[in-house]
């Protein structure tokens, strides 16, 4: 049971700042996901927490213990690597028990803990095999088991699902969720997959260019993105963005092919200000031609089964619309669209900051 604190942590490789002045608190027992595109500093952050990378500036604490310079083996953490990093010359049983053996635990104790972890993950019948005799999913389980056996104060997972095929990934995602809910240990999880971040986490920290963009509960980030990056990163299909300008009356936003009122919104905007409007595909209303204010013609229809994704241009932008299970709309047909003012996110075009989100950088703990 452990809380984690990053206190003004910076990591530099030569001239390159991989992580810039990171302040992050992860309370005891929380499942925290660090998410962002590749090269955003999330893995570096995890490696610093593991002790595999040095910290250039600042400090890292586990509870009240300063571990900035503590070697990885003495931090009592377990880590699951993207490549699994199973020891190829050892059986699954020896892989699972290796860390305990290094710590001179008794043979009986090792056997019972390995047995328990193997049972928990359903890999008991694989214990005498070598890693090369396992499938991708089985290796993944062994890698998880190697961490579970340790019963550490903190779990670190570095893109553990990214080497699995899509179907297995979704299945393992659910299993991970159940497993860590039961263990109630603090987990720091790194991924570039927004779906994993949304579904698994108690809280998510979104990274870009070595800086945390926003931290919060998954739905909080989804509903109240602090800037364009966060808004565009979370959600699939991603949020639509339309460039516009605040009109003379300070209420209407005009852009290429549309003019939308922002009535009833408290916004800190000025006339003539360049803005970016964001709206999620599921929030766009779609109707028969003429029934709604914006006219368009369908470019492309993607039936997904559970929903239908429709692409239609507004001005020079192709807008994505997600509608119900089945739709009679076909490509080429005339339709009309509405962007409901309450669902619109308004961002300052220059800074990318949200003008609608009221949440600060740390919205909740």
């Amino acid at each position: 049971m452990t809380s984690v604190t990053f206190d003004h942590v910076t990591k530099r490789y030569g001239q390159v700042e991989a992580v810039k002045d990171l302040n992050l608190e992860i309370p005891d027992g929380q499942f925290m996901t660090l998410v962002g595109p590749s090269g955003c500093g999330k893995s570096t952050t995890l490696n610093m927490l593991a002790g595999l990378d040095d910290v250039t500036e600042g400090d890292i604490y586990l509870d009240s213990d300063r571990v900035t310079n503590t070697p990885p083996g003495e931090r009592d953490i377990a880590m699951v690597f993207q490549s699994y990093a199973l020891y190829p010359h050892m059986s699954v049983r020896d892989n699972l028990g290796f860390a305990l053996k290094i710590r001179n635990e008794s043979r009986q104790d090792i056997a019972s803990r390995v047995g328990r972890a193997a049972e928990m993950l359903g890999i008991t019948e694989l214990l005498d095999r070598k890693p090369r005799q396992l499938s991708g999913g089985q290796r993944q389980r062994v890698a998880l088991g190697r961490a579970l056996v340790r019963e550490p104060r903190l779990f670190l997972l570095d893109e553990p699902l990214s080497n699995l095929d899509a179907k297995l990934r979704v299945q393992m995602r659910a299993e991970l969720k159940l497993l860590f809910d039961r263990l109630a240990t603090t987990v720091v999880y790194v991924t570039h997959d927004q779906a994993e971040a949304m579904t698994l986490s108690d809280r998510v920290a979104i990274f870009n260019h070595g800086v945390v963009q926003q931290i919060g509960k998954p739905l909080e980030l989804y509903n109240h993105p602090r800037n364009i990056f966060v808004a565009g990163f979370l959600g699939s299909p991603p949020m639509n963005f339309l460039d516009g300008e605040i009109g003379e009356d300070g209420q209407m936003v005009r852009g290429n092919g549309f003019s939308i009122p922002l009535t009833g919104r408290k916004l800190d905007i000025s006339r003539g200000q360049k803005v970016v409007l964001g709206i999620r595909p599921e929030d766009v209303s779609i109707g028969a031609a003429g029934s709604l204010p914006l006219h368009s013609a369908v470019s492309l229809v993607e039936p997904m089964g559970s929903s239908t994704v429709i692409y239609a241009p507004i001005g020079d932008k192709l807008v994505t619309v997600e509608t119900g299970k089945e739709s009679s709309i076909t490509a080429g047909s005339s339709i009309s669209l509405e962007l409901p003012p309450d669902s619109i996110h308004v961002f300052d075009a220059a800074s990318g900051e949200s003008l609608t989100s009221t949440s600060g950088i740390i919205t909740s703990v």
Partner: protein
Amino acid sequence: MADVAQNALGTPPGKQRQRRVSSDSGWSILRWIMIIIGMTIVLVPFLWLVTTSFKPESAYLAYPPRFIPDNWTLEGYRILFQKEQLGRFFLNSLVITLTSTVLSVAFGSIAAYSLARAKLPFRLNNIIAFWMLLTRMYPAIATAIPYFLLIRELNLLDTRWALIITHTAFNLPFVIWLMIGFYQELPKELERAAMVDGCSAWQRFTKIVLPLSAPALVATSILAAILSWNEFLFAVMLTRNEAKTLPVVMSGFITDKGLLWNQMTALGVITVLPVLLFAIAVQKYLVRGLTLGAVKE
């Protein structure tokens, strides 16, 4: 359907197949010729060595020379085995080879691992590695006199240690270079996992890196052992009688009364045999070791 498609491309399927077969057989003939030429270059001198060791004097001095003798004799081997010191020279070769191989592989692999993993400033890793190789760039004879004086000062002339030290020194750069390449290819995440699991640097090396590098170590050991077993220059220079090795003994058959071909070739066969048997025994590792790194798990 497939025929139609191929016809549409303009080539009747039958003809295409025929052409492929003829070019395939052309290739395989050429390949066999290359293999036969290669084998001839490698094997004929060795076979000549073997047959000569069984020839009577009349046969090995015959002109034109005869590859296969009419009469086979064990005379060369008989004379050789009557010299009571042969066993000791064989033992010298064995002890010197084994000791210098173990030493050079042990020190060399640790040094290589350090060079492959340590982050030294000013690209010192590369500089040190290159400097190691430098010691193999000049002809060995260039250091003959300094070596002789050094070993004499150490009072080690004509001892096994003289050659153990020399061979270890000459094999080290070779071992280091072979092993650096291997360690650099070893996935670093395995060692990072071991770090998180609580391994010290030494435990990482002995429990993870060494077991995984066993095939490479075996391959390197074999090559180092062969170099040491066959080394002649320093062996003849630094030994008189006590620590003489088999190649030096062999050169002793060049006498002022002429060349004692049958004894010399008999000893040649005896010298080759252990290496040959050893190489066959560990061939599996040798091939795996030399191709390791190409195959990633």
